[in-house]
């Protein structure tokens, strides 16, 4: 579900970047990027087994 929402959020930011005010597009971009990082941290919990 979170990925659907992220795609939807990026779709909206793209539309704002194309048709809306520039400061709003940049603000929304920052919010989406933070949401992406949070989603990554939520999914990156498995231990990496890197000793070989």
């Amino acid at each position: 579900m979170e990925f659907t929402l992220l795609f939807l959020a990026i779709f909206i930011v793209m539309l704002v970047a194309w048709r809306g005010p520039r400061p709003l597009a940049m603000g929304l971009f920052a919010a989406v990027l933070i949401a992406c990082v949070a989603t990554y941290l939520h999914h990156a919990t498995d231990v990496l087994k890197l000793s070989f």
């Binding site: 979170e2 659907t4 990026i10 793209m14 970047a17």
Partner: protein, 183 residues
């Protein structure tokens, strides 16, 4: 590099991103390989990468727009590096099928690193940031307009695809069926 040329290059980069998102869709639809959560996040970062060029095409090139794309590319590189490391152990077959010897996430890592290098390179050209009365970012720029429409359309298709795959719940780690199309 003049402002007009920089805008054309930004439009070209949108076509490259659209090609990448379309290739991911092709693998999903033709090979029947559903994207995992980290794969979806990499697609999301590629789509996020497109916001800077859209702003450059509409408002003209600005360092802040390139900085936005750089941040998205670095975040995307972190995500794809993690997935590469998840499958780096000897004997691990990796996730999904390989294309020209590399899996999608390895190609994604190469793509994000290439984006970082190209963004740094284009920032070297200062003339694009000077006011150029002859160059109107939007007027008559059909090439740029089509690129923006293409990338926005592909992002909209990803909204639908991700919803069909995951439904209203969390996505499966190794998805094999579309949750909303299950009978």
């Amino acid at each position: 590099m003049t402002q007009t040329r920089a805008i054309a290059l930004n439009a070209l980069s949108l076509y490259a991103l659209a090609l990448l998102l379309a290739a991911a869709f092709a693998a999903q639809l033709l090979l029947g390989e559903l994207p995992c959560p980290l794969c979806l996040l990499q697609r999301i970062m590629f789509a996020t990468l497109a916001i800077g060029p859209i702003l450059n095409i509409r408002f003209g090139p600005r360092p802040s727009h390139y900085a936005m794309s750089l941040l998205a590319a670095v975040a995307g590189a972190v995500v794809s590096t993690r997935q590469v490391l998840l499958h780096i152990m000897p004997g691990d077959a990796g996730y999904g099928s390989a294309l020209l010897g590399y899996h999608y996430y390895t190609w994604a890592l190469i793509g994000f690193i290439a984006a970082i290098v190209l963004l740094a390179a284009i920032l070297l050209f200062d003339r694009q940031f000077e006011d150029d009365a002859a160059a109107s970012p939007l007027a008559g720029n059909l090439f740029g307009y089509a690129a923006v429409c293409l990338v926005i359309g592909l992002t909209a298709m990803n909204v639908v695809s991700a919803f069909l795959e995951c439904g209203p719940r969390a996505c499966a780690d190794n998805p094999v069926v579309y949750e909303l199309l299950k009978r």
